[in-house]
């Protein structure tokens, strides 16, 4: 048999190359094999405060700090203005309800920054901690 005929015969044979049929329940098995991954996705941790919100909070805090340094008060901190207003409100409340509340009269506002900034940092640490625990929940469940 000549090479040409062999080639022709081979081409003819290759036309009979066909698909092997996958088992009937193949798709079901694949889909059920995906269930563990689907379960993982369902319990994925999504932070309560989004990244965008954190950025916004950060920017606001920076503005607050800058304002405090740009407009310093002779009598105290920048926060004295709203606190004076609050003191007025307290006085009014006292006169209405006749309750004794001296808290805002003698309030030292210098502690506000040392409180706000660590609180903010603690909030971030807490958020990251939750994220870590949720990510490694299988480890913590044992």
């Amino acid at each position: 048999m000549s090479d040409k005929n062999i080639t022709r015969k081979l081409d003819e044979l290759l036309k009979h190359l066909d698909y092997e049929k996958a088992p009937e329940d193949f798709s079901d098995k694949v889909m059920s094999g995906l269930h563990p991954y689907l379960a993982d996705e369902k319990f994925q941790y999504t932070p309560l405060i989004s990244k965008r919100a954190w950025i916004l909070i950060g920017v606001l805090l920076m503005i607050l700090i800058i304002l405090a340094f740009v407009f310093p008060s002779n009598t105290g901190t920048w926060f004295d203005i709203p606190l004076d207003y609050l003191s007025g409100l307290v006085e009014k409340t006292k006169s209405i309800f006749k309750i004794s509340l001296n808290l805002f009269n003698n309030l030292d506002t210098s502690f506000l920054f040392p409180v706000i900034i660590p609180s903010f940092i603690l909030l971030i640490i807490f958020d990251r901690l939750i994220h870590f625990v949720m990510k490694n929940k299988s480890f913590f469940m044992i």
Partner: protein, 196 residues
């Protein structure tokens, strides 16, 4: 079937986006669409139905897990077949001597001498001869023939699937055809002897 596999790429992209949105029915559609080709490719490489089924299933799970990484630079089928090819080849390397079921042995190891080749022009016999030719090839050559002749993949696509360059694939394809022709020549010669 061939037409079904060669469906529009846009169609695949639509279903992929649906899967990424969490629509599992869309993934089920992709599995149904490609399951036969995926199974065929795995079977041609592994020569064992059970192993081929496992590899095909694993491949679809890998596809699902990595679907976010698919950038649509190539066809979805090319990306899918690459995963199947790599998974099956790794399996072959792990199991140097894969065990075959009796049915698979019958399918792949047809005794040359006992074959009745006088009816070789019948379709069934042609299929059997083809199977014998494939059986003489190694797993990567069988995959090459399957991708080129069955799924009608382009040389560049096969190169992407197998991780080789275009010229390598062309040379391999030429050599594989040559091997098959030599084996076919031997079969037809024995047929002639039998008739005489």
């Amino acid at each position: 079937m061939r037409h079904t596999i060669k469906m529009d790429q846009k169609d695949d992209r639509y279903y992929i986006s649906k899967v990424l949105e969490g629509d599992m029915q869309a993934f089920s559609y992709l599995v149904d669409k490609y399951k036969d080709m995926v199974f065929t490719l795995a079977f041609r490489i592994l020569k064992n139905r059970e192993n081929a089924e496992e590899v095909a299933q694993d491949s679809f799970v890998k596809v699902y897990q990595n679907l976010k990484k698919f950038k649509s630079k190539s066809k979805f089928s090319t990306w899918l077949y690459r995963i199947v090819y790599n998974t099956a080849i790794s399996r072959v390397r792990v199991k140097q001597n894969p065990t075959m079921s009796i049915d698979d042995q019958k399918f792949f190891e047809i005794e040359d001498e006992k074959q009745n080749v006088s009816k070789s022009f019948d379709i069934e016999n042609n299929k059997m001869i083809l199977q014998r030719l494939l059986n003489k090839l190694d797993e990567s050559d069988r995959a090459l023939i399957t991708l080129y002749y069955l799924d009608e993949c382009k040389i560049s696509e096969i190169a992407e699937i197998t991780g080789q360059n275009n010229s390598n694939i062309k040379v391999k394809l030429h050599r594989t055809r040559k091997k098959m022709k030599e084996e076919l020549h031997r079969i037809l010669k024995s047929e002639m002897v039998e008739i005489i």
